[in-house]
């Protein structure tokens, strides 16, 4: 899928995990490695012993099974393989428990951001009234507390690089906190199945310097005014989540592609048709269920109040460029 904001690759990064940019990383990654290597050692032991036995005691011409009463008990062995694993298990539990405790208790001086999840977008609102879609701008080395709720069904806010995850529930608030340890763009996934657009419900955590964050707060988080309109539209396309459901290469996704539609006529569910012009695009953004293109479901959420006029003009200009 095309995601124009380039989030840091999850596949790259040393080791099994994406790069760790979180204060939680040491606990989580360390614990994983401990269990992994412990398991590998134990597993190799099991394989080696099993293989040895199968080879040494295998039925073959001339093989005689060692005589004598079969050993069916050995207190020493049995204790050895019950008690140490139990102790290890408790140790692992404790390690995970301390990490979890850290994750659960959000710091009092954290910077709070409201998160609202709905099918299929992430909305962010800051204490100063800044609103953002799909892109969560935060300052580095600062505890951020996300106070979240969903508008429809269960969702889950997951940022692999930050090692955080928390379900987002309708009619209830859940919290998750983190502190990013370096700047960069990091992938947000929805990770509680929520319907057709579940895999498209992505976003970016944009970690910036504290100075840049202050500036962004002051600017109201608006898309760069100095950009030409079609570039504004291109930015909105990815930053505000349109990319989740509309392609620009002609392939239909959850919603119709934007490629080559300007000036054409769309047929709608329930009859009727209209030309794809400025009014149609604006209506589709504000009241998407008024006209649903034939072959598609009425699943687009309304962006009323979420995009300003310039951003809508930008989208219109951008669509015009997609021939």
């Amino acid at each position: 899928m095309d995601n124009k904001i380039v989030n840091e690759s999850l596949i790259a990064g040393k080791g099994w995990f994406p790069s760790d940019v979180s204060t939680f990383g040491q606990n989580v990654d360390g614990l994983y490695n401990f269990i992994l290597w412990g398991s590998v050692i134990l597993f190799i032991g099991i394989i080696v012993v099993t293989t040895l036995f199968v080879i040494k005691y295998r039925k073959r011409p001339g093989y005689v099974q060692p005589a004598g009463k079969h050993i069916t008990h050995h207190l020493g062995l049995e204790l050895a393989w019950t008690v140490p694993p139990l102790i290890l298990a408790l140790f692992i539990f404790y390690w995970g428990f301390t990490g979890f405790l850290d994750m659960s208790v959000s710091p009092k001086q954290g910077e709070e951001v409201r998160v609202v999840a709905k099918k299929w977008m992430w909305q962010f609102e800051y204490k100063n009234g800044n609103k953002a879609l799909s892109e969560l701008v935060v300052p580095v080395n600062t505890p951020i507390v996300l106070v979240m709720n969903a508008e429809d069904v269960l969702h889950s806010f997951y940022v692999p690089n930050l090692r955080i995850k928390r379900d987002v529930i309708p009619n209830r608030y859940t919290k998750v906190w983190f502190e990013a340890t370096r700047t960069g763009n990091f992938q947000i996934f929805c990770t509680e199945y929520c319907g057709d657009g579940h895999s498209e419900m992505q976003g970016t955590v944009r970690v910036v310097s504290q100075a840049e964050y202050k500036k962004w707060l002051a600017d109201g988080g608006a898309v760069d005014e100095s950009l030409p309109l079609d570039k504004v539209g291109e930015k909105v396309y990815t930053a505000k989540g349109c990319v989740a459901c509309h392609s620009v290469d002609g392939s239909p996704k959850v919603g119709p592609s934007w490629k080559g539609i300007w000036g054409t006529t769309h047929q709608f569910v329930g009859g009727g048709s209209a030309a794809v012009d400025e009014n149609y695009v604006k209506e589709s953004i504000y009241d998407p269920h008024a006209k649903v293109v034939q072959g598609f479901q009425p699943v687009m959420p309304s962006y009323k109040g979420l995009l300003n006029d310039r951003e809508i003009d930008g989208v219109i200009a951008y669509i015009k460029t997609l021939k």
């Binding site: 099993t50 979890f100 889950s156």
Partner: protein, 532 residues
């Protein structure tokens, strides 16, 4: 003393479809179950092939997002409810249990037949759901998505509800059978470990399944009448659904694994010609797993919004349940020490289980730890984990048991060579599909995703190609098993040299199982007392 004509067995004793459809013979019921369980596996497998095909590349290949969501829902629901929960108990268990305890039948043969028909009836509902707007909720039916989606949730959940009763009645039957129908001399600690495993499984079936039943009923009524118990908009709580659902579904996974562990004990003793190491520990560990399994359901809810205190308790208890399983593994390995190991097809599956279940188990340790689970929950890591334990564990043991008791069930031998080839394909294919998914998971790839980031494509494509290798393995298996029925060599009463009671009667057994009721005067695996 049973009077039986020479050459008569339970298969040819009476003829005609009706005699099978109205049978009260546990063996015939077991075989009928086997047929439909195999069909369910093929159906669930077909959906798996389809969904993995779609995942070859990130974009749309054949299916829309909604269709993909239906595919993974159907794959999960069919595999869990129609295949794996009944798998070993209803097919092998039904056939084997009376034989292993020296009885003529289970305690309630008519109830047994009812269980079978309930299974079919439930299956019909599920199939109907498939063709009438299949559910797209995931097999876990989480609310509020499941109460608001417009797909056929009700027929699928009613199907699962009915299947639940099939499972409950089998559980009741097995508990009473094991308590009341053992041959003279077979005390509790002279029972084969397969019987202990079926007993522990039956306890879980009986206690856990009713809770699922009510949960699904509440879900149906929520959809129909908007009762509001799970709907946040009406004052209900969607997390309550998750608690109810997992209260059954966690013990359910032990319904899946315990019979498999029972099979493992049978295979290792027979194919090592050795007495089991630690009989009582294995027996007790089955009961311990059954009991503790009811105390850990919250480890599916670590990030769901349950209280942190609850999460901590559930994590601690989750580690407790790992210990009895580990004890069993070590006991099986110790059993092979100084044995005489016959590497036949059933034993290949014993080895497969050992290898794959350990991997699955270790990754379970990872998922049980709180902070690590926060990261791994709802990613492909979980998918890999449960496939390793359910398929690498239960299915391998199921196949091992099938190959072990096949001569007893049908009186025919299959080709060892073909079995080995199929096993190879299955082992390779399985690891290709699912080991890759551990790597996807640790890199953050979420589950139930229709499309994905380009960077994940190589791993996804590799995983998908593994499904084709797996399929070849199963096709080879289907071929040689059917071939054995048509042209296979006649099986002797005891082709493997087993000591449990089923091997002391003919292959296939007569309807009454034994000519004379066996009198038991020894432990089940006393190979050191047997002079070859």
């Amino acid at each position: 003393m049973s009077q039986v004509a020479v050459g008569t067995n339970y298969i040819n004793a009476t003829k005609g479809l009706k005699s099978w459809l109205t049978t009260l013979d546990h063996k015939r019921i077991g075989i009928m179950y086997l047929l439909f369980i195999a069909i369910s596996f093929a159906l669930g497998g077909f959906f798996a092939l389809a969904l993995r095909l779609e995942l070859l590349n990130p974009g749309k290949l054949l299916f829309s997002a909604k269709q993909y969501n239906q595919l993974f829902t159907l794959h999960g629901a069919i595999m869990v409810f129609l295949f794996i929960v009944p798998s070993i108990p209803a097919s092998i268990g039904n056939f084997l249990l009376p034989l292993q305890i020296g009885a003529k039948d289970v305690a309630f043969p008519k109830l047994n037949l009812s269980s079978f028909y309930l299974y079919l009836f439930g299956a019909i509902f599920c199939v109907y759901s498939m063709v009438a707007g299949a559910a797209d909720t995931g097999w876990t039916f989480y609310t509020p998505y499941s109460t608001t989606t417009d797909t056929s949730v009700i027929s699928m959940t009613l199907g699962a509800f009915i299947l639940g009763f099939s499972s409950i009645f089998t559980g009741i039957n097995f508990i009473v059978t094991i308590h009341k129908m053992r041959a003279p001399g077979m005390s509790w600690f002279r029972m084969p470990l397969m019987v202990w495993a079926l007993y522990a499984t039956a306890i879980i079936q009986v206690l856990a399944t009713p809770v699922l039943g009510i949960t699904l009923l509440l879900l149906v009524i929520e959809r129909v009448a908007g009762i509001g118990i799970f709907d946040p908009a009406l004052g209900g709580d969607p997390i309550l659904f998750q608690h109810f659902f997992w209260f059954y579904s966690h013990p359910a996974v032990y319904i899946m694994i315990l019979p498999a562990m029972g099979v493992m004990s049978e295979l290792v003793t027979t194919f090592s010609k050795k007495n089991i190491f630690g009989y009582k520990m294995i027996a007790y560990s089955s009961l311990a797993i059954a009991i503790i399994s009811f105390l850990v359901w919250g480890h599916h809810l670590f990030v769901s919004g349950q209280s942190d205190y609850a999460a901590m308790i559930f994590s601690l208890l989750t580690y407790l349940v790992a210990i009895p399983s580990a004890v069993k593994v070590f006991n099986w390995i110790a059993t092979m020490y100084k044995g005489e190991i016959d590497i036949k097809a059933p034993f290949l599956y014993f080895l497969a289980f050992l290898f794959l279940f350990c991997i699955g188990g270790f990754t379970g340790i990872m998922l049980g730890s709180l902070s690590l689970d926060v990261y791994l929950h709802d990613t492909y890591f979980v998918v890999a984990h449960f496939h390793y334990v359910m398929m690498g564990g239960t299915v391998m043991a199921f196949l091992g048991g099938l190959h072990y008791w096949w001569p007893k069930m049908f009186g025919k031998m299959y080709s060892e060579g073909a079995a080995f080839v199929a096993w190879l394909f299955i082992m390779v294919g399985f690891n290709m599909v699912f080991f890759t998914q551990y790597l996807l998971g640790t890199k953050g790839m979420p589950r139930r995703y229709y499309s994905y980031l380009d960077q994940f494509q190589p791993l996804h494509a590799f995983s998908t190609s593994g499904t084709w290798v797996l399929t070849i393995g199963f096709l080879i298996m289907a071929f040689y098993l059917v071939e054995s029925l048509l042209n296979g060599k006649q099986a002797p009463d005891n082709p493997w040299g087993g000591l449990t009671l089923e091997w002391k009667t003919q292959s296939p057994p007569i309807t009454e199982n034994f000519l004379d009721t066996p009198i038991v005067d020894s432990d089940p695996y006393e190979y050191d007392k047997v002079k070859v």
